[in-house]
Amino acid sequence: MRLRRDTLKNPQQELRIFRSRSLLAALVVTTLTGLLMGRLGYLQVVQHEVYTTRSEKNRVRVEPLPPTRGLIHDRNGVLLADNRPTYNLMLIRERVEDVDATLRQLEELLELSEEEADAIRVRAGQRQRPFQPALLLSDLDEDQIARLAVNRHRLPGVEVEAQLLRYYPDAEIMAHALGYVGRINAEELKSLDAGRYAGTHFIGKTGVERYYEDLLHGQAGLRKVETNARGRVLQELGRTDPVPGKDLTLTLDKELQTLAYELLEERRGSIVAIAPQTGEILAMVSAPGFDSNRFVTGIDVSTYRGLQEDLDLPLFNRAIRGHYPPGSTIKPFLALAGLAEGEITPEETIYDPGYFQLPNDSRRYRNWLRWGHGRVDLERSIAVSNNTYYYSLAHELGIDRLHERMSALGFGQRVAHDVQGESPGLMPSREWKRGRFDQPWYPGETLSVGIGQGYWQVTPLQLATATAVLANRGEWVKPRLARRIGDEPVPVELPETPPDITVENDDWWDRIFSGMEKVVSGHEGTARRTGEGLEYRMGGKSGTAQVFSLGQDQRYDAEELAERLRDHALFVAFAPLEDPEIAVAVIVENAGGGSAHAAHLARAMTDAWLLEEEEVPDVDELRETMETDDGSVAGN
């Protein structure tokens, strides 16, 4: 290219133009520089505070310090709920070059199932800010930790983090009484105090773990740390230590609880034992149990479905939610009601022809012994479990007074102080029937209630509580599971304790007790085989409850059907008679062979609590005895 010089050039004019243009440029440059300065002044002076806050927020991170959950012990200090160090697999995306490749590597290394492999893919993306570790797997086993340690250099961005996890050493035996903790779900998250639960992943879901959640959990602390943009902690700027949760000592006795669970082995049922004078629940078992540890780490769907669809309902806490007709076990309570209302005295007798008839009604309400027990007083009515006596008594009391008196013993109520999820059962009344069926109460229904049938439904816990109140001569002590919270003992007197029950003559208690003693020790007693070789005085009462129908959606084969239609065996007992230390309620579902089965289990419980260890019969021996006892006790 050639550049030719123009002939029309005027250097003076060009100079002038250039100078005026560059003067203009100087002005523009100055103005723009001024603009920049203004912008900087705005950022650095006017908005300084805003940006200082922002830069502090960048730099300073508040890390929650979750508190250590309180431990749970039994009454003798045996550990029931522990905190076990576990290891979680974490992933920091920003430190990983190829996330997919790393996940594939982990899958191979840890031999993950397809389900787990899918899960870690989802979890790898779950986090709130850059450089925040995402939780891939919790509770790695030792083999997995070892493999990760060996391959550490090949897996940048993959970290193993220690965390304390709840562990129940005797999970199956304690599952229902103790409950369990599980991951906080979205719904719980909404109602939780975010500050207290910062950094906490678990919350009590059922049982003691749920009821005492506030105390067991404690208060989260926090530490302020300076971090760089990669999330690495450079220094600690300040710290509030967490307040650990309070340790809990329960009233349960692990030995007794274990015995109760073994007694119910391969059966469905419940045993509840209470110390009458203190209200302490010594054992509370619902069988079958389940492994509550599986709920802590997150149970897999198929296992959970298996538990839910199991016909034996292992997840169902029979001790506090199972509804059973109490049967004849309530006869001593009815006798107490009759005495307290002045309708009967211990000496009064009735004649039992084998049935009871309401006035102007031809229908015969039968005693279980067709030909009748003849003359029956209060003690004998309990010992032989006479129905006619209680038809008559119930008729005289009427449903209103019956309802009131039985409610006073805790039936139809939630009786315990700190039992989570307790059901009130059902104590029928006129109002209840009108509300439920829009029908009047019929006198015949009162008679059914009089022998513990009809609408009346109790929980094993209620039965044990009423027995304890009776054994305590009417003095109410609320049943409870906590013995000590931290270092504070739980007082015997608790708020909202129901009023004590009194009778005109204190000796009348002994008459009821005497009747109950004859159940196990008298020659006519319905559970007389149970009292053989008894080394202390014991009172008891048998009962059977008929199974009327089964749930419609449940499928049984013929043999199973027959088994599951057998009567439930019930027994309540307390001992020693003079100064009761234990009251027990036993319910064995579909036991067959009358109430004897339950009576032997109750005896085993009182033996274990009252006798020296070597004198307690072992469970296998007891089973043999029970098999020979088949049918020795009739009817109720």
Binding site: L3, F18, R21, L32, T33, R39, Q44, Y51, S55
Partner: protein, 386 residues
């Protein structure tokens, strides 16, 4: 012709102030064709820049030494170029421009990818070179060369030819894609035309055409470039992604306050919240650690450099020199304005470094070469006008 000292000076004639005690020293600077004031300002800026760079690089001495070494080379280039007479420069201008253009085409065809853009020309084992750097200087010189040979203010035909001279390389560079550099190259050419006296009617018409072309430009932007503009308008829409840079840089500057957090004490910079902190975003480190006061001082130095540069251009002896000098110095200002504007959040993010402070070799050499040319056209006075 008898002229007073002042009027001679103003018209750019060589002057010798009356009764000057500095005569000998002045003569020394004139002999080596160096403007001492401009050189001192540049040295001050580079020294301050090295200090900031030490902090911004996470206190890595190697980075500072590497930069200082490049500065040495750059100063060498400046001194050498200052010795070349404007006449020689003018002679070589078309060749340099054509070479640059050819290399840009070569880049387009066989260029090497780096940082997601095709910018480098590599002769294996010999040299890695960005032709766009050469174009930063060749462009204003070519435009100035053309205009200085024709009647000024430029006629429509000359403006059209200049538009072609400017448009070719700019389009090629923008396609690499390197929006920042194409912007700088375009400014260099346009400033030459403007300084040559492009009539205001033209300027107005071109401005309106540019405004009309904006949607067209938007359609032709790369996705990441559009994202930058959107981010500039709403940085909080993606605070962890594309908005991160600008949020962190304004936070760094704003939290610096009036006096700053102190050298090496800036938490945004030292804790690595600030991205690209030793290259394009280095001014945020300056703002955080030295505050508004530090920023004002540095901006004043830049302003003085630009003013001195304009003065040097205005006192050149021919139109070619004036136009080249003015275009170079105004482009230098564009660097500063775009960079500080983007880091402080009043302009979208464009890859333009802070001249002589940001870490980076080629650009500081090019810049200093530009100042070398500026000194050359100022210092060679034997090339007198008629």
């Amino acid at each position: 012709m008898a002229m007073s000292y002042l009027s001679r000076r103003l018209r750019g004639y060589p002057v010798r102030p009356p009764n000057s005690g500095m005569t000998r020293r002045k003569r020394f600077w004139e002999r080596i064709h160096i403007d001492p004031w401009l050189l001192i300002l540049l040295l001050v800026l580079m020294t301050a820049g090295l200090g900031v760079l030490y902090s911004a690089s996470g206190q890595r001495l190697e980075t500072v030494i590497a930069q200082a070494t490049r500065f040495m080379v750059a100063i060498g280039v400046l001194v050498v170029l200052a010795q070349v007479s404007p006449a020689t420069l003018l002679r070589w201008t078309p060749l340099a421009y054509v070479m640059g253009l050819l290399m840009l085409v070569a880049v387009e065809l066989v260029g090497d990818m780096g940082m997601g853009a095709q910018r480098w020309l590599v002769i294996p084992g010999v040299i890695r070179f960005q032709p766009s750097e050469l174009m930063k200087l060749a462009m204003p010189m070519m435009v100035a060369a053309w205009l200085s040979r024709h009647e000024l203010p430029p006629r429509l035909r000359d403006v059209a030819i200049c538009a072609l001279i400017i448009g070719g390389p700019v389009v090629l560079i923008a396609k690499q894609p390197d929006l920042g550099t194409s912007l700088l190259v375009a400014s260099a050419g346009v400033f030459a035309v403007l300084l040559a006296g492009l009539s205001w009617r033209f300027i107005l018409a071109l401005g309106m055409m540019a405004a009309a072309a904006l949607p067209l430009l938007w359609m032709n932007l790369h996705d990441y470039q559009r994202q930058r503009v959107l981010t500039f308008l709403h940085p909080d829409s993606d605070p962890l992604g594309s908005g991160w840079n600008i949020i962190q840089s304004t936070t760094a500057i704003g939290s610096g306050g009036l006096w700053g957090k102190g050298w090496l004490e800036g938490t945004q910079s030292q804790l690595e919240f600030l991205p690209e902190r030793h290259t394009d975003f280095i001014v945020a480190v300056l703002g955080e650690e030295f505050g508004l006061v530090g920023m004002l001082v540095v901006l004043m130095v830049y302003l003085l450099i630009v003013m001195r540069g304009l003065w040097l251009a205005a006192t050149a002896h021919d139109t070619f020199g004036r136009l080249v000098g003015g275009a170079i110095i105004l482009t230098f200002f564009i660097y500063v304005f775009v960079n500080v504007g983007m880091v402080s959040g009043i302009l979208p993010v464009v890859g333009v470094p802070l001249p002589l402070v940001s870490f980076g070799g080629t650009s500081s050499v090019t810049l200093m070469a530009g100042f070398g040319i500026l000194m050359s056209i100022h210092g060679h006075r034997r090339f007198l006008p008629r």
